[in-house]
C-alpha cells in the first residue's frame, strides 16, 4: 500500500487527484469550433445571449489543440470525413464527442445519399447523441450537461494514452491519416514522412539567365 501506485490499485493521492481532475474537466468543457452544417446555427445560438453556453464553462475554441470536446453538428460527407478525423486526432486527451442532430447520429435526412456517412460513429467514438433536426438549444444544453455528468463519473487515471482513434471498420475510400510516428504504432502501420509542399517555383521570366551573384 503505497501513496503513489499503479492503476490497478489506486491509492489515496491518485484517487484524490483523479477526483480533482474530473471536477475540473467536467466544469470546463471546451468544444472545438467546427461548424459543419445547419445544426451549427443552433450551436451558435446556444453560445449567444439567450441560452449562454459560457455559464456552464463551455467556451468554443478555434484550435483543436485547446479543445477537449468535439460537437459534430451535421452530416459528415466523404470529403469531410478525413478532416473531421484529423481534427479529432489533433485534440488533446482525454476527449469526448457529441453527435448533434439526426445527421450526425445516422445520416438523417440524407441517409440514402451517395456522399454522406451513416452517422459520425463510423469514424469517431461518440459519447452523447442529441436527436433533433436541428436539436433545440435547450436540447444541446441538456446533452452537454449529460456529458458533464459522464466526465465527472469517468476516471481517466490509468487509462493508456490513445492519441489516435482507429474506427472499428476502416473506411476504404480514404487512408487513415497518421500525424506522427507514435500514431503508426497504435494503428499498426508504417509511418511514412508525408511529402512536404514542393520547393518554391522559380520566378517568372528567364530564371537561368539571372546572374547568381545578384541574388
Amino acid at each position: 500500500m503505497g501513496v503513489v501506485d499503479d492503476a490497478e490499485q489506486p491509492g489515496f493521492i491518485t484517487t484524490t487527484l483523479d477526483k480533482l481532475l474530473r471536477w475540473g474537466r467536467s466544469r470546463s468543457m471546451w468544444p472545438v469550433n467546427a461548424g459543419i452544417a445547419c445544426c451549427s446555427l443552433e450551436m451558435m445560438t446556444t453560445g449567444a445571449a439567450r441560452y449562454d453556453f459560457d455559464r456552464f464553462g463551455i467556451m468554443f475554441r478555434s484550435s483543436p489543440r485547446q479543445a477537449d470536446v468535439m460537437i459534430v453538428p451535421g452530416p459528415i460527407t466523404k470529403k469531410m470525413a478525413p478532416i473531421v478525423q484529423r481534427v479529432y486526432n489533433q485534440m488533446a486527451e482525454p476527449r469526448w464527442v457529441i453527435a448533434m442532430g439526426s445527421c450526425a447520429i445516422s445520416g438523417g435526412t440524407f441517409v440514402d445519399s451517395y456522399n454522406v456517412l451513416p452517422g459520425a460513429e463510423t469514424i469517431l467514438p461518440v459519447d452523447i447523441y442529441i436527436p433533433g433536426c436541428p436539436p433545440r438549444p435547450e436540447a444541446l444544453l441538456y446533452g452537454c450537461l449529460q456529458l458533464k455528468k459522464l466526465i465527472s463519473e469517468t476516471s481517466t487515471i490509468g487509462s493508456s494514452r490513445k492519441p489516435m482513434y482507429v474506427p472499428p471498420v476502416l473506411p476504404e475510400e480514404w487512408p487513415l491519416e497518421l500525424l506522427g510516428e507514435y500514431d503508426a504504432l497504435e494503428a499498426g502501420a508504417v509511418w511514412v514522412q508525408p511529402e512536404r509542399d514542393s520547393p518554391p517555383v522559380t520566378p517568372l521570366g528567364d530564371a537561368e539567365s539571372a546572374p547568381e551573384d545578384e541574388l
Binding site: G35, A48, A49, S62, S113, P203
Partner: protein
Amino acid sequence: MVNFPRKGVEGSTETMLLNVGPQHPSTHGVLHMMCEISGETIVSAKPVIGYLHRGIEKLAESRTWQQDIVLTDRLDYVAQFSNEWAYCRAVERLAGIEVPERAEWLRTLLVEMNRITSHLIWYAGVTMDIGALGTPFIYAWVARERIFDFYEAVTGARVMPNWMRLGGVHTDIDSAMLKEMRDFLERDFPVEVDEYEALLVGNEIVQSRMKGIGVFSAEQLVEWGVTGPALRASGSERDLRKDVPYGVYDRLDFRVCTDDVGDSLARCRVRLAEIRESARMCVQIIDGMPGGDVRAKVSRALKPPVGDVCVRTESPRGELGVLVASDGTTKPLRFRVRSPIFYNLSAMPHMLPNHLLADMLVIFGGIDTSMGEIDR
C-alpha cells in the same frame, strides 16, 4: 490533389502556399481556401468546395414533388424560406397551380423576415471575422431570437420550417400574431438596427479595416457572375424583386438599396439598408394582408406535365434560380439549384489577388457565404 498551379511573382524569389480552412473559425461552414502569398499579399487564390456535398439534387429525384420541400430547407439553411419559395414557385409554374392571394402575402412576409435574419447572421459573421469577437455577435442574436420566436409560433420549428406547400402555405397566421410581429418590427426593431449600424459602420476600427478594401466596379462583378447585395453595393440596380416582380412585391412600396462606392464598407451599408427596408416591407404586408384561404387543393400524387422551367428569385445572397424538369411522373426528372453564392464564390480568384491576406476575410464577408447552398 487539388490542381493549384502557382503563379509566382516576377522579381521575387519565393511564394508561399497558405491553406485557410476547411476547419477554420471564420469560413462560415467548411470552405477551404488555398492562397498563394508573397509576403502578405495574395498572388492567387482558389476556393476548394464540396465538403458539405450531400447530393440533394440526386435525393430530390428519388422523392415526390411534395417531399422535396423538406430538402430545400437544408440547402441554404440561413435563408430557408427563400429556398422553399423558389422551389414552390417553380413547381407551381410547371404544374399550373394557382396560389391563393393570402398565401402569397404570407409567403412574402416570412421571406422578408427571413432576409432580416439572414443578414443578421452575416452581420455576426463579418464582425467576428475582422476581430470583433463576441459583442456584435451577441447583439445580432437579440433581434434574431425575437424573430425566431415568430418562426416557431408560425411553423413549429426554429430553423427548418418546412412551412410552404405546393399551392400555398401550411398554417395561417392569426391576427394577434400579426399584430405582435408588426409591433416588434415597427417599434423595437428599428432601434436595434440603429444600434447595429452604429456598432458596425460607425466604428472607427471597422472603417479603417473596410474602407477602400476590395473595390470592384459593377461591370466587373456582372462579368464574374456576382449577384445580390454584393453587386448592388457597386451601384447596380439589379434586384429581381423589382425586375421580375413575384409574390406581392409589385404591390409594395420599397426601394432597391444601392451604394456606388463599391468597397467592403459599402456592402455593409447596403445590407444594413436592406434590413431596414425589409422591416418596412413587412409592416406594409401586415397592413395590406387580405383574408381568405391559404392553401389550394393539390393532389398528393402531383404529376406536372412534361417540360422544364427555370425560375429566378432574389434570395438574401443574390439570384437564386431553381430549374425543375418533369417527365410526367410523381418524381422530378431533375431538380437544379442555381446557387447565388456558388457563382459569387467562383469570383474569388478574380477578386482576391493583390489584396493583403488580412483583407481576404473582409472581402469574403462581403459576399456572405453559406456552404449548404454552395455544395448542395
